[in-house]
Amino acid sequence: MKRTINAILFLAFFSGIPFSAGRCQNPQIPDWNPGVAESLYRGGDYSAAISAYEEVLQQGWVSGEIYYNLGNCYYKLGQYGRAILYYERARKFLGSDPDLQLNLKLANLRIYDRIEPLPRIFIIRVLEAVGELLTVRRWALIVIISEWVVLISLILLHIVRRPRWRRPLVGGLVFASVLFILSGSFFLQQKIHLDRLVEGVVLAQKVEVRSAPESGSTELFALHEGVKMRILRQVSGWAEIKLADGKRGWMPQSAFEII
């Protein structure tokens, strides 16, 4: 009995780590007050609010909320390309936050280009949607929790003799194993996909997309401020891009910024 309790305490201690790890408790930025930036925003001085938020970024600190607030400032200034850039950056931290999703949708309505994504198979669309429900960290948390539940129930099954106690343990083990397999695959898929994915947003008011990385080559089509696209590779001042509708081409690196 004593051993059982010991084991539980031991696991509880370890499983508590993810909740506190990776965070920094209230970083010390002496002369920065979030209230200042907010009152500037409320007073309509969006450019000043932007520089107030940028100060935090310059000191090496980030948060999804700061990006979201910057996106709002640029939106109010009518710079929809930058607004989309910062909303997309915020999305990496906040995931499917409803405020963020609405603002991003509004900003996307304000831009000139309409890019229709390629149609995809239903099951793949569903799987992708499920994968995007949670951020990578959330998936990782679920993986860790289910993993520990599996471990604990396995140990307990070795210790506990009484058949009356064993039944719920077996149930818990099966549930946690299924959860572990599912969350593990979603976590790995998202992690691998997002680590390789480089995306950018066009900031130039208009940029010609060409067939080769030189300014004399054929102009394929033109893009305008605010279009999000994949960056496939970057070669000496040029980047090969791919749009959601499958179109590809080259544009100068100065025309966009990576999310």
């Binding site: 790890a21 990776g22 935090v56 600190w61 999804g64 405020d99 520990w148």
Partner: protein
């Protein structure tokens, strides 16, 4: 005559009238088909009227096969007239065709036979012979060179003729050639009228404006005094190449002649005789010679791809009304072609507005100047461009290629090409954004959501990178599991093995008991089932107690169990089961399936009890 006879004769006469009527119609089908002329002697400048007439008692007269009129020029005709009569039950109809003919040459000319077919028969007219004298006012028939129908020097000039002159006879396709029609006269012409204009297939024609009253000049031709007036000037643009013939132009003139020999015996005439009265007016028809033009195709060498057929000498002028606009404000680009040549036929310039602009079909206007030496003018295209996106937009230049016959080469003009600064309009409304669904338009009226609290600040650049703690906690469970397993194997040794063996035999016993439940239904196998229960329990207990397999005897097992300090009721239940097994094995009469099931249940529960008391004891 009886009444019957009267009736018969009446029927006969009615029938005979009917048949006679029919017969008359049939028999009178023959036609009278004649050809006649109003005169048989005439001069080259005079006309003759040919009349073909068909008469007969038929309801319809077909069209005739016309005679050979190759020696004549048909000025008018056939003019058809028809008359139809029905008198006393007899049909008579007549039809006539008249032609106004003008002989092409002097001499004895023949009008061939005409044919008409009716009622299965063919009727022919007699041929007619005409004597045409060479005298007349028509110009001589010899072909002039250089496209000028002026009579050859040395030959006698007629007193009245019309001539056509071209400014050149060897021209390029689409190049303009100017034809000038001039009347030369030594007699007094009171009026003239262009009675037939040449049809000009294969040419695009542009007529010059001439003053209402032609200016009359005096010239001397072949030592004679003539008066000359230009009556028509026209520019022709040949649309294809090759030898092209311009048909003759015909002019009808009213010529006033003095008639000094006219004497009348009428006293009133003598009384009122005056020079004025002795004048008479004669109508004369004169015409030009056909004019042959040699049209050369445009050279293929050096012909640009975008050449669209402009021939002449042109200037291109492209202008934009301003170079700074706001979005959704219209810009006007004016493209103006000026020059001599086929200005009306110029194609719309090949201009594609940049993708950021909305553009409409250009407004087109042409102004052709029809005075002066050559056809010239201006063609203007106005493009309305509406920028939709702010930024610096470049409007591509306009390229225009034409062929200049003077230099015999192609020229390409490139004008325009503007940089326009487009500013974001203040009144940028939703409607100007493309491709927005209705529900989204409503959404656009909304404002964005408010700011968020700064949240927890992180020291990372990539939000997808996981802190080390995540990886450690993720990796720990497998490590722990492995360590436990390995440690138990190495450190736990025999105790662990014994426990594993215990678990194995417990599960095996339970499984075997469950399998026996199926035998309970079969009444014949009951003794064997009880034997099996006995053996299963003994094997389980013996193994659990660590006895050798040979010592699995009921008494020994029970004796050993007693030493294990188990609950007394477990031992007694066990003894009860063993007893029941022995009875059933050796005296099978009392055994039934219901009892077997009860024993099996009892044994199963007992196994659990033993396992539980054993583990709690440890």
């Amino acid at each position: 005559m009886t009444f019957k006879g009267f009736c018969n004769s009446l029927i006969v006469s009615v029938l005979s009238v009917f048949f006679l009527g029919m017969g008359g119609h049939l028999y009178a089908a023959d036609l009278l088909f004649t050809a006649s002329v109003d005169r048989t002697e005439l001069s080259l400048s005079q006309t003759v009227t040919l009349t073909l007439q068909a008469e007969g008692s038929v309801t319809s007269i077909p069209d005739p096969k016309l005679p050979d009129l190759s020696d004549f020029r048909v000025l008018s005709g056939p003019n058809e007239s028809t008359s139809f009569q029905f008198i006393n039950g007899r049909i008579s109809s007549s039809k006539s065709w008249t032609f106004v003919l003008k002989p092409k040459r002097a001499g004895t000319l023949r009008i061939g036979t005409a044919e008409i077919s009716s009622g299965g028969e063919t009727y022919r007219t007699e041929p007619i012979t005409l004597e045409v004298s060479g005298k007349g006012s028509a110009p001589p028939t010899d072909k002039p060179s250089r496209g000028v129908t002026a009579p050859q020097p040395g030959k006698e000039l007629p007193e009245l003729f019309v001539q056509v002159s071209a400014d050149k006879t060897r021209i390029y396709q689409n190049e303009q050639v100017i034809l000038t029609y001039t009347i030369f006269t030594r007699v007094s012409v009171s009026a003239y009228e262009i009675s037939r204009l040449p049809s000009t297939p294969g040419f695009w024609t542009e007529e010059f404006q001439l003053p209402q009253q032609p200016t009359v000049e005096d010239v001397v031709l072949s030592g004679r005094h003539y008066r000359r007036a230009v009556i028509r000037r026209v520019a022709l643009f040949p649309t294809r190449s090759g030898q092209m013939v311009v048909d003759p132009l015909e002019v009808t003139c009213q010529v006033q002649l003095q008639d000094p020999y006219r004497r009348s015996l009428d006293p009133f005439d003598i009384l009122f005789d005056s020079p004025f009265m002795r004048q008479r007016t004669e109508e004369r028809i004169i015409e030009t010679e056909p004019l042959t033009l040699n049209v050369v195709p445009l050279p293929a060498a050096g012909k640009p791809d975008n050449f669209s057929g402009a021939v002449g000498n042109f200037k291109l002028d492209v202008s934009l009304d301003r170079d700074r606009v706001t979005t959704n404000e219209a810009l006007t680009m004016t493209v103006r072609f000026t020059g001599t040549g086929n200005i009306k036929l110029l194609d719309r310039p090949n201009f594609k507005a940049p993708s950021d602009f909305e553009s409409y079909d250009p407004k087109e206007s042409v102004d052709v100047k029809k005075s002066g030496n050559r056809i010239s003018g201006t063609k203007t295209y106005e493009y309305v461009l509406i920028p939709r996106v702010p930024g610096v937009a470049s409007i591509p230049p306009i390229e225009f290629t034409y062929f200049n016959p003077a230099t015999k080469s192609y020229h390409t003009l490139k004008e325009g090409g503007f940089e326009v600064e487009v500013e974001r309009g203040a009144d940028e409304s939703v409607a100007t954004l493309p491709g927005i669904a209705k529900e989204d338009v409503k959404l656009l009226a909304e404002d964005i959501r408010y700011l968020k609290k700064p949240g927890r600040l992180l020291r990372i650049s990539n939000p997808y990178s996981l802190p080390a703690a995540y990886w450690i906690t993720m990796a720990l469970p497998p490590v722990i599991a492995f360590l436990l397993w390995w440690g138990a194997r190495v450190l736990g040794g025999t105790a662990l093995q014994a426990r594993r063996r215990d678990r194995r035999i417990y599960f095996r016993a339970k499984r075997e008991l469950r399998a026996l439940g199926k035998m309970a239904a079969d009444g014949d196998k009951l003794p064997q089932a009880y034997g099996a229960i006995h053996k299963i329990l003994l094997t389980y207990l013996g193994t659990k107690l660590g006895m050798p397999a040979s010592g699995f005897k009921e008494e020994e097992v029970l004796g050993r169990l007693a030493k294990q300090k188990l609950d007394q009721d477990i031992i007694s239940t066990l003894e009860e089961i063993f007893q029941a097994c022995n009875y059933a094995r050796f005296a099978p009469e009392g055994a039934d399936s219901w009892r077997l099931k009860r024993t099996l249940k009892q044994s199963d529960r007992m196994l659990d009890k033993i396992e539980e008391s054993w583990s709690s004891k440890r």
